[in-house]
Symmetry: C2
Subunit: 234 residues, 2 copies
DNA sequence: GTTGAATTTCTTGTCGACAAATAAAATACA
DNA sequence: TGTATTTTATTTGTCGACAAGAAATTCAAC
């Protein structure tokens, strides 16, 4: 799978076995190392990570709770499909969470929050400069997650992070079609959002977040319309 | 605990052991049969339900994923506290979900959805007539959950149901202070919402949902202000 | 009587094994 | 040759047991 598997040989503390395999599976699912539909074999995973099936099952239960894997009763558990037929519900929720979290960030952010957000934006900017599409997707997610954290509403951050992760999966499918000019626009939009959050301009933050969300949704829809590899589902 | 425990003697099908104990624990937590802070002993539960610890642990992992229980590493797992200090984040998210789901229901509802919603409203009305506060709380939750289902956005319904369940816990703490006149107002508000959903009046549904949410939030806040038993936390 | 260390107890996290349920393969039959 | 049925095989769900960690208790020293 990946090189982190080597770390499994190192002795792990008691109690973090499940978290260990959870993190590995989660990252691999979001990065599409495990594409939708991939079966997950408990026994195979167990011997690869040199641990019992018990912590692996616990990780799978948690992943199922977040909707990242689907458990067929008495049969295999597979990586959840991306529901292309109902993407509009995803876009709708994503847009709303963009707006709400950015609004709240403008209202409740502390100076430390602002620092973290700026650091995340710097990482995103570097990824854009380097034309590294994969890093762009990841750092963009971290940027907005930091804004959500500044809003200090765990209900929103929870749903938003789930949506952002799902968005990473979708974007990763089409990452080859990323151009060079559009992302730079995102950098500028991010800067505007930071300015609004710093100025505690709630209305402005909402307007920018909405525009930003529309922008991203439109780009994903364009990519899907342009790329007709799997028109129905994966 | 309750009489459902007796059903544990009946033979269960393979694979639904975890769901069985999950449902029991979930209901008991939401109904405050297990109040916040209650420790959950795996071994005790295992022998009471006459099953192994494995399915019980799976249920606990799922409950932890939904935030209903908190697992202290290497120590006991307890029923999660109600965070009275940050109730405003709960009210904020609840209000937003009320609005969004009702809007979407007005937009996408089918005739079958409307039937289900009406049935739930009838149950709520009966509970109000019977002055059964506990049934009121439960049927009110089901009514709004049905509206959310009609909106057909699983991201919203997921968060909303979590919020409604948490609201049930909060309301149940103060259910003794329920009067007789206020709930009747809720019945009428529900009827108005149904009418707006039937007429596909999105703007009206939004307005009614917002007013309804404000109403409920205000009542809970009044109850908390009036009842000073546990001013800080439970 | 109080404080601190050692011991015991109790609960959890992990393991290996077994049995049920399903999928796959092999066989029988038309 | 194609289809139905039995057999095999694989994978999951469950179990009992054991060991690591933390809390509670005991014991000792001052």
């Amino acid at each position: 799978m990946n090189d982190r598997t080597a770390a499994s040989q190192a002795e792990r503390k008691r109690g973090e076995g499940a978290k260990f395999v959870y993190d590995i599976l989660r990252d691999d699912i979001i990065d599409l190392v495990l594409p939708p539909g991939s079966p997950i074999d408990e026994v195979q995973l167990a011997e690869r990570l040199s641990m019992s099936r018990t912590p692996i099952r616990e990780a799978l239960v948690r992943l199922a709770g977040e909707g990242l894997v689907t458990t067929l009763p008495n049969r295999s558990t597979v990586v959840s499909n991306i529901d292309f037929l109902n993407l509009h519900t995803f876009f709708d929720a994503l847009t709303l969470m963009y707006r709400v979290t950015t609004r709240l960030a403008a209202e409740f952010r502390s100076d430390e929050d602002l620092e973290i957000i700026r650091a995340r934006q710097a990482a995103f900017s570097r990824a854009v400069e380097a034309h590294d599409a994969l890093a762009m997707i990841a750092t963009n997610r971290d940027f907005h997650a930091a804004i959500a954290e500044a809003g200090r509403n765990p209900y929103y951050t929870g749903l938003f992070c789930r949506l952002l992760d799902e968005g990473r999966r979708i974007l990763r499918i089409y990452y080859s079609s990323f151009g060079d000019h559009l992302p730079r626009r995102y950098v500028e939009e991010h800067e505007d959002m930071i300015a609004a959050i710093e100025a505690r301009d709630v209305a402005g933050a909402d307007r920018l977040a909405r525009a930003h969300a529309d922008q991203i949704v439109r780009q994903i829809q364009d990519m899907i319309a342009r790329d007709r590899r799997q028109p129905i589902a994966l």
